[in-house]
Amino acid sequence: MLNFLEEWSFFGGSILLILIGLYGVITRKNMIKILISLALMDTGVNLMLVALGYVKAANAPILNSVVQTNTAAFVDPIPQALVLTSIVIGTAVLGLGLALVIKIYDKFSTLDISKIRGLKW
């Protein structure tokens, strides 16, 4: 049981988070909720990437007074670097999306995409 949880909780959790986000993007009609779902998908995939680089019982990839040499076991630093980039990109996209939402609201006085011409999908 514990072994199963250890092996699957991170992978399963992050994939489920992506799928929940995907479901939200497709079904929600409120524009802010669509963007929230997009944020959930982002978080899920970031978690996935970092989890793929995890090494059991290894150290964080930082040399310090405790972990002094490169011969110690480290987790993979590359996915972490990629995720740093991806988090910032995700925020940029969300910010732009919210600005668009504000303008669309100004025009239609609603956040409901089913009431907005040109946004029905």
């Binding site: 963007l35 990629l82 991806s86 990109i89 996209v93 040109g118």
Partner: protein, 483 residues
């Protein structure tokens, strides 16, 4: 020889400085944009003969080639970069006559969409490709919203679908890195044969979703018509001429160099064929001229993807030639349509009636480009259409050939309808003052005739690009050579 990194670095520098230029002089941003794209074309030209000889690898940050980020500029990337920067150059000339509110921001976004697309075609690193796709799409979302009014919805739609695509692409990158242990395209390609077939299929699907959005492939393309309709003309032009070219390039890179397998190409062939036929059928019904051009654009993208995924050398060459032609023709169509629209004050095709006598340059440009798309002899479209049909017959794809011919017939119907309206109907409306577009129309027309009468101009680069795409061994060897 000039270092090719400058194609990305100089536009970046200019974009970051653009607000300062604006503070110095109101007119400076548009001039800087023009100069930067001209500079990029010069850099590409300076490297032309060297690249035709052998591909150039540029290591970034001074780190050895497969271990960090490197750029790979072979004939294919050079061709695509020429297309992208050439489109940007021509549209910058067009932009000289335009006045945009917040022009510093417009031009910095415009430069970055160009640099992002150039980066997409030049990079040799998977995650770097993702970053450049994001740069291109964010610039595109913002530029779409530039027209105000209805463009916000189009932009929001594109943003949401683009966001989903980037998540799937990132997931694919994660899977690939976990299996191969490297992000370098050449290293991944070298070990692609070792990856478990099922995992390979899943990863390919994830990448298809991520990149297919930029390449405007069915069913990921429902945002395109809205975007092209609502965005400013220069933006529709750059999206259709440059960004989709970069998308096709990325798609080809992934499915030819990275995961070469005939089964994936077959799926792409079906997707392309569906996109082609649906696009043409819907374009035929459109009353809005920009929407019609948008669907026609989609159809062309479908055609190019379908032909390239036939996978034979002749087919790839035909597809690439069609890509070049499509960029030239669609830019001409969009800018002349833009002028006609502002002259008539309406996007409705019926309202354009009779404008041929008043807006001579624009109507001429539109007609020439339409003829080019239809494949009239002595224009560039004729030769690429001919190559496409003969190569699809050679590959024993009769159904595809029939579809292509059918699509051509539908195209003739709706393009001639517009031309007929322009020239053979009476003027009904008051003609408004518009921008002058003589220089871009002349340049583009020269290109159309040049490539139509003397296609050997581009034969050599096309051949080398097709060879590079079909045989991924040389790509791997060039990058990993020292290892």
């Amino acid at each position: 020889m000039v270092n090719l990194t400058l194609i990305i670095a100089i536009p970046l520098l200019m974009s970051f400085t653009m607000p300062i230029f604006k503070m110095l002089n109101q007119k400076l941003p548009k001039v800087i944009a023009l100069l930067t794209t001209a500079f990029n074309l010069l850099v590409l030209t300076a490297n032309f003969s060297q690249i035709m000889d052998s591909a150039i690898i540029i290591e970034l940050g001074g780190w050895q080639a497969p271990l960090a980020i490197n750029l790979y500029v072979g004939p294919l990337a050079l061709l695509a970069a020429f297309l992208i920067n050439g489109s940007a150059f021509i549209l910058s000339i067009y932009n000289l006559t335009q006045d945009y509110k917040f022009d510093d921001k417009f031009y910095l976004l415009f430069l970055m969409i160009t640099a992002g697309a150039s980066g997409m075609v030049m990079t040799g690193d998977l995650f770097n490709l993702f970053v450049f796709i994001e740069i291109t799409s964010i610039a595109a979302y913002s530029l779409t919203a530039f027209a105000g009014r209805d463009s916000y919805e189009a932009s929001f739609k594109y943003l949401v679908i683009g966001g989903i695509g980037s998540v799937f692409m990132l997931l694919g990158i994660g899977f690939t890195y976990s299996a191969v242990g490297s992000l370098n395209l050449a290293e991944i390609a070298a070990s692609a044969g070792l990856i478990n077939p099922l995992l390979l299929q899943i990863t390919a699907l994830l990448f298809l979703i991520g990149v297919g959005i930029e390449a405007e492939l069915f069913p990921l393309n429902f945002w395109v018509p809205d975007l092209y309709t609502e965005a400013p003309t220069a933006v529709s032009g750059i999206m259709s001429g440059a960004v989709s070219a970069a998308g096709i390039y990325a798609l080809a890179r992934i499915f030819f160099t990275l995961f070469p397998a005939q089964s994936f190409l077959n799926y792409l062939l079906y997707l392309g064929a569906i996109t082609l036929i649906l696009g043409e059928l819907i374009a035929y019904q459109q009353k809005n001229i920009k929407r019609m051009l948008a669907y026609s654009s989609l159809a062309q993208m479908g055609l190019i993807v379908a032909v390239i995924s036939l996978g034979t050398e002749g087919a790839v060459r035909a597809g690439l030639f069609q890509l070049v032609n499509h960029s030239i023709l669609k830019i001409l169509l969009f800018i002349s349509a833009g002028v006609l629209i502002s002259a008539a004050g309406s996007k409705n095709i019926d309202d354009l009636a009779g404008l041929g006598s008043k807006k001579k340059t624009a109507a001429f440009g539109f007609t020439i480009a339409a003829m080019g798309i239809l494949g009239v002899p002595f224009l560039n479209g004729f030769i690429s259409k001919f190559m496409i049909i003969s190569s699809s017959l050679n590959a024993d794809q009769f159904l595809l050939t029939v579809l292509i011919l059918l699509a051509a017939v539908i195209e003739i119907a709706y393009y001639l309808k517009v031309v007929q309206k322009l020239y053979f109907e009476d003027l009904k409306i008051e003609v408004k003052k518009t921008a002058v577009i003589t220089i871009p129309v002349v340049l583009l027309t020269l290109m159309i005739f040049g490539l139509g009468i003397y296609p050997q101009l581009i034969a050599d680069p096309l051949e080398k690009a097709a060879a590079e795409l079909i045989n991924n061994g040389s790509y791997i060897m060039t990058v990993l050579g020292g290892m």
